[in-house]
């Protein structure tokens, strides 16, 4: 097996629901991913900097407060500015269906909501990173 996939899991803004991100971190680690957690209450700018510094393959943003459109717009811009737009960007949490396409238009690669299967997420990341 080549280098493990590195993923930065991030909480942006004031939303502090952590169950999804806690479970995902553990499950991805058990599947051989290298997981870095941003900590709570981060700004999009800080997340983009951390992604650059840690040279991750994937950034995963968890949002359950409804602020996903606002945060992802800024994060995607920062990622472009910093030349990180080749990295996979995924979003998880409470995201209404009608926001999925607009998120993708901003540069989000995939959205996972409640009930998403961990094997599916891992499989998606493996194929997206190697593509």
């Amino acid at each position: 097996m080549d280098q493990p996939i590195r993923i930065l899991l991030a909480k942006i803004g004031l939303d502090t629901h952590t169950i999804g991100i806690t479970v995902l971190a553990k499950e991805l680690r058990d599947r051989g991913f290298e997981v870095i957690f941003s900590g709570l209450k981060q700004t999009p700018e800080k997340v983009a900097h951390a992604a650059l510094q840690e040279d991750v393959d994937v950034i995963g943003v968890s949002c359950l407060s409804g602020g996903h459109m606002t945060h992802l717009k800024v994060l995607a811009e920062k990622m472009r500015e910093m030349g990180l737009d080749d990295r996979i960007l995924i979003v998880g949490g409470v995201v209404p269906e009608e926001d999925v396409e607009p998120l993708k238009a901003l540069g989000v690669d995939q959205v996972f909501t409640m009930g998403a299967n961990m094997d599916d997420i891992a499989a998606y990341l493996r194929s997206a990173v190697s593509a």
Binding site: G13, L14, E27, L40, H71, P96, M114
Partner: protein
């Protein structure tokens, strides 16, 4: 174990062993049991096919000392002598969004729907102690609750038929002294008699550090502010409930019933010990403490939990604190169904779930108020449809089923009594463990609560993915290509700009020098050890903002490092 040895093991087993060998085992001999393991949902206790007197004997159950009668120690059968035959529970829902006038309009609608209690939720900028114009709050103003910056917002928010409510709960834990001051001043300005209002405040900061995250200051300062609020109410508004420890959040963070009760009570001990150290009497402190419990789909875990809650509380207050007043021994409880079971998929199924959970609340008893989340919970803030149906679920259970017509109707059920007693024993064992860590603050600082809950989160997630735990529409009987079948509430993106305009307007007409002086007064109080509510009352009247007041305390207390309490991943 062989059948013969089982017979030998339990000579007084009410015939269960014999029943097993002669009836049960032949009945399943060909097809086997439906599941490889029968376990309760979150405690994962093995469930036997049958419970009898032998199970109660084995755990030392004695109806005289373990049950008592409704309104008598240890209150297992109900804290209030008349149960729900006197008064039904107050019917409530959580609500709050946008600016003050948006929320007031919504609350008026809720009162019209027959709700007689409201839980006011504030947005994340407010609960984290920022004004709406703070850059950190982009996109969050008025989203997850009502935006609150100044006394003007609180006054406008109370523009609805308040007098129709049995109680009102204001959820603003980290900045609770600011919030309390705004509530008191707004109510006075509206000409309300404060003694006619029953105000409840979660003020549950230790739960925030444990599993919710809306904290500002380091835990010992958080605890001090919470105790200032309790102390102020104890002295001035003794019919209010200034501490509602939200066990429901511990449960929502996947804590099992034993963890929920034990962590909640360990936290209660931290507040109580601080107030006793300030020289107050346990018989006056204990009645200030109440709890909010989370109710989920495992029916008997829920009922056992409700009964164990009040019994353990009574024993803890009597045996550990030597409380003697009845009001100190009686648990005050709000029940909150739907804590974890509101599925995103096929959301109308959630109506059935809420009905069942509400039934468990009514049967388990003990709650003065029952809160219903709504069937669209996983999608967005509630729509008006969801509010109406949520209110009707209360009335259907209360008025159509007859379950509220006799008190503690499940008492004496072998299984229910077994669950109740076993939970009680395990809660006491867990409480002892936490005491040995230095109580709730020690356990929190050691990361104990957080890592125990993280393990439960991972285990429960696996139970869903292996199908061990079934969730209709989510991992069982899943609908292919499901389209959303309900209308959902949409956040008004313009609320943020409107709120900032409101804030600027208030700021433009206040006396800046007076505000600066009062903010210094707040800092001074924070540096000392006088009650923080008093200077807040003065400050909010001068229109010092919520964020400014929280900042003044930040200057003295510092901020808690948000990563220090994150569960070890």
């Amino acid at each position: 174990m062989s059948r013969a040895s089982e017979k030998l093991k339990a000579p007084n087993d009410s015939g269960e062993t014999l029943w097993r060998t002669e009836y049960y085992e032949p009945a399943i001999a060909d097809t086997g049991e439906r599941k490889t393991r029968f376990q309760t949902q979150s405690l994962r206790w093995d469930i036997k096919p049958l419970y009898t007197q032998a199970d109660l004997d084995a755990i030392g159950f004695d109806p005289d000392t373990d049950l008592g009668l409704p309104g008598t120690y240890p209150y297992t059968r109900e804290t209030r002598p008349a149960g729900y035959r006197g008064d039904l529970w107050a019917m409530t829902q959580v609500s709050g969004f946008g600016c003050a006038e948006d929320s007031a309009k919504r609350w008026a609608y809720m009162v019209e729907q027959g709700l007689d209690s409201i839980i006011v939720e504030f947005d994340l900028p407010t609960t984290n102690g920022y004004d709406s114009d703070n850059p950190l709050c982009r996109g969050e103003v008025g989203r997850a609750g009502m935006a609150l910056d100044t006394l003007q917002d609180m006054e406008d928010a109370l523009d609805f038929p308040l007098e129709k409510l049995k109680n009102i709960t204001s959820v603003c834990n980290a900045p609770q002294p600011v919030n309390l001051a705004m509530l008191i001043k707004a109510l006075q300005r509206k000409g309300k008699k404060l003694e006619d209002i029953r105000l409840m405040m979660p003020n549950t900061i230790l739960v925030e550090y444990t599993c919710v995250g809306r904290y500002i200051y380091p835990p010992k300062h958080g605890l001090r502010l919470a105790c200032d609020v309790i102390e102020y109410c104890m002295q001035h508004h003794s019919n209010w409930m200034p501490l509602n420890i939200v066990g429901a959040q511990i449960y929502a963070a996947r804590g099992n019933p034993v963890q929920e009760i034990a962590y909640s009570f360990a936290m209660a001990r931290a507040y109580i010990d601080e107030l006793l150290a300030r020289g107050h009497d346990i018989n006056r402190v204990a009645p200030m403490v109440s709890f909010i419990t989370g109710i989920d789909m495992d029916f008997f875990e829920a009922i056992g939990k409700l009964r164990a809650y009040r019994k353990v509380w009574a024993r803890l207050m009597k045996e550990t604190y030597g409380a003697t007043a009845e009001e100190a021994l009686k648990l005050r409880l709000m029940s909150s169904p739907g804590t974890m079971s509101m599925a995103l998929q096929q959301p109308l199924n959630n109506i059935a779930r809420l009905g069942i959970e509400m039934l468990a609340c009514a049967l388990g008893g003990g709650a003065h108020t029952i809160n219903t989340p709504l069937y669209d919970e996983a999608h967005a803030l509630p729509s008006e449809d969801a509010i109406t149906i949520g209110a009707n679920i209360h009335h259907i259970v209360a008025q159509e089923t007859g379950v509220a017509d006799t008190i503690d109707p499940l008492a004496g059920s072998y299984y229910v009594e077994y669950m109740t007693k076993r939970m009680e024993d395990e809660v006491f064992a867990e409480l002892e463990k936490i005491e040995a860590m230095g109580g709730a603050l020690g356990a929190l600082e050691a990361g104990y609560f957080q890592s125990e809950l993280a393990e439960e989160q991972i285990a429960m997630n696996r139970d869903f993915h292996t199908g061990e735990r079934k969730f209709v529409g989510v991992n069982y009987r899943v609908k292919k290509d499901e389209q959303r079948e309900i209308e959902i509430f949409r956040h008004d993106e313009a609320a943020e700009a409107r709120q900032i305009e409101r804030l600027n307007k208030v700021k433009s007409r206040r006396d800046e020098a007076a505000v600066a002086r009062v903010l210094e007064k707040v800092r001074e109080a924070a540096r000392g050890n006088t009650n923080m509510v008093e200077p807040m009352l003065e400050a909010v009247e001068l229109y010092a903002t919520h964020g400014e007041l929280c900042d003044a305390m930040r200057d003295v207390f510092g901020e808690y490092d948000p990563n220090a309490l994150t569960p070890t991943l």
